[in-house]
């Protein structure tokens, strides 16, 4: 898994356009939530190899599982462009719920981080996740409105399709690897 692939896959799995439609307007909570997501993603990538060993799963096989998760998640984003609003904790608690979970630590992000850890590309994964989260923060600063929301929904669908493509690419790689 190259840095480029991980960047595209993390951006698609985080889907900043779709997330923007339901992220709280409290900037501090969003920024803190992104930090929590980065820390959790980094931890998952760091222990990914050990975790897969513990499960007796080869990295190549897990890549296939991650591909399936990306594909399903991408299909959901493609079909349901506007996600339902999530419950929020009060104050900075919103950084934890809903920002970090379930909006940023999506199944796709978790699976990708573990898969990257299993492949021994933890540093690239953490870098790509950080860049993708930065994009989420930038998108979160965009003003909302009818027109903007329509564009965000369209962008969410496009990123959903990208996530499916990333899943397919990952599956092909998993099938080719020994």
């Amino acid at each position: 898994m190259s840095f480029g692939f991980l960047l595209v896959a993390f951006v698609a799995a985080l889907n900043p356009c779709r997330a923007r439609l339901v992220l709280p307007e409290r900037r501090a909570a969003v920024a803190l939530g992104a930090l929590i997501a980065l820390g959790t993603g980094a931890a998952l990538a760091a222990v990914g190899g050990v975790f897969l060993d513990w499960l007796d799963v080869s990295p190549e096989s897990f890549r296939l599982a991650a591909a399936l998760v990306l594909g399903l998640e991408g299909a959901r984003a493609l079909l349901v462009a506007r996600p339902a609003a999530e419950p929020e904790l009060a104050g900075l608690g919103a950084a934890l719920v809903p920002v970090a979970f379930p909006l940023l630590l999506t199944p796709g992000v978790v699976a990708l981080a573990i898969a990257a850890g299993g492949d021994g590309v933890e540093a690239a994964a953490i870098g790509a996740l950080a860049a993708a989260l930065l994009l989420v923060l930038l998108t979160a600063a965009l003003p909302r409105g009818t027109r903007a929301d329509a564009l965000l929904a369209a962008g969410g669908r496009l990123l959903g399709a990208t996530e499916i493509a990333a899943g397919i690419a990952l599956a092909v790689e998993a099938l080719r690897d020994v």
Partner: protein, 390 residues
């Protein structure tokens, strides 16, 4: 916060579903060279005990019905000989050599000769290339085991049959018709193509300078670049014989297309090995992965991985695959050895000597190729277990 339960539950249930359906544990018990040698010896003993009059071997046995099969296949006969000669060549096993020589009598009685070539076939039938190709492989291993050149002319005759079946694009037609006296157009043999590749590469190694390398390399190029399309395989066909053939041709005999094909082949065998390691005889593993691979299935995975491992050690262009191939090979060998019927288990069946050393399917049947492929796969794993790189 009750609404949060929904994504949490979806996360947990999704993870559980993935674990059960997509990534169950790959069970690879530890394996030692000693246990692999012992399993190979037991498999060879099953084949040796099956020697029957006329140079035949026991074809199959149903332990539930206590029935010995009346079927026979000359291609599998040649495969059994090959595995036994190989054991003789690699381990100096005199009983295996004698048992394979027993089968050679059957081969010599079923040769059809035309235009300077010979085919191993049932006289009234079309001559398939697989039986002759495996007879070549058997005889080459006999030569390696004994240094006796008395069968060299037969090796050449059989190899000339394979060359006579070769088309201008490098492919080999699967059979020859005695009624028309010509190769049957448009017919390809699923395994015969790879078997012919291996046979021609082996003959070139045994008899260098006689021009066998040309047909072997043309066939390798066809297999690497066109076979899947021409013969109708959507994905790369997991051909363990082709893996043997590529390993035999070695780095100097392979161009970039063949190296790329070897890489694809390694991926398919790696996937098959991983999926096999996820299977089990009971519980959710049985439900999700179906019946575990037969002895022949396990053996061919091992053979394919071993051929490609050998090539990856010799060819720097594939060196990055050595470690993973060795790991999959160890896993497949350990599972192969564990699935074999041991003497204690065999004692519980009506004819213990037809059960001991065999690999049975769930319905209680075993066939000569279960033992043949497992024996070959286990033998091919030994270099990895006794200190091979990777």
């Amino acid at each position: 916060m009750r609404r949060l339960l929904v994504p949490v539950a979806a996360f947990v249930l999704g993870a559980l579903a993935l674990r059960v359906a997509v990534v169950p544990a790959e069970v690879c018990p530890p394996v030692e060279a000693r246990s692999v040698r012992s399993a190979a010896a037991e498999a060879a003993a099953w084949l040796e005990r099956g020697a029957r009059p006329g140079g035949l071997y026991t074809y199959g046995y149903d332990r539930k019905r206590d029935e010995v099969s009346g079927d026979y296949s000359i291609t599998r006969h040649a495969g059994v000989m090959m595995a036994l000669y190989r054991l003789a060549a690699e381990a100096g096993d005199a009983r295996a050599l004698a048992s394979a020589d027993h089968g050679l009598r059957f081969v010599r009685a079923r040769l059809v000769r035309r235009d300077g070539w010979a085919a191993f076939t049932e006289p009234a039938n079309d001559a398939g290339i697989g039986a002759s190709a495996l007879a070549v492989a058997a005889l080459v291993h006999r030569r390696l085991a004994t240094d006796d050149g008395s069968q060299d002319d037969l090796i050449r005759e059989l190899a000339r049959f394979l060359v006579a079946q070769q088309q201008p694009d490098g492919s080999v037609l699967g059979s020859w018709s005695p009624s028309t006296g010509r190769p049957v157009p448009g017919t390809y043999s699923k395994f015969g193509t790879g078997e012919a590749l291996w046979a021609l590469a082996l003959v070139d190694r045994l008899l260098p300078g006689e021009g066998w390398d040309g047909p072997a390399k043309r066939l390798a190029r066809y297999v690497a670049t066109r076979r899947d399309d021409v013969e109708g395989y959507v994905l790369t066909f997991p051909d363990h014989w082709a893996a043997y053939g590529l390993a035999e041709l070695g780095p100097s005999g392979l161009g970039e297309p063949e190296v790329a094909y070897a890489r694809r082949l390694a991926g398919i065998f790696g996937l098959n090995s991983r999926l096999e390691a996820q299977s089990g005889e009971a519980g959710l593993r049985r439900v999700m992965r179906g019946e575990p691979a037969s002895g022949a299935g396990l053996g061919t995975i091992g053979e394919g991985l071993a051929g490609l491992w050998r090539l990856s050690v010799a060819d720097p262009r594939l060196g990055d695959l050595s470690y993973d191939l060795a790991e999959r090979l160890r896993c497949t060998a350990s599972r192969t050895a564990r699935r074999q019927t041991d003497p204690g288990e065999a004692a519980g069946f009506p004819r213990p000597l037809l059960a001991r050393g065999a690999w049975f399917s769930e319905d209680g049947y075993t066939q000569m190729d279960d033992q043949q492929h497992s024996l070959s796969g286990l033998l091919a794993t030994l270099p990895v277990l006794v200190g091979g790189r990777g």
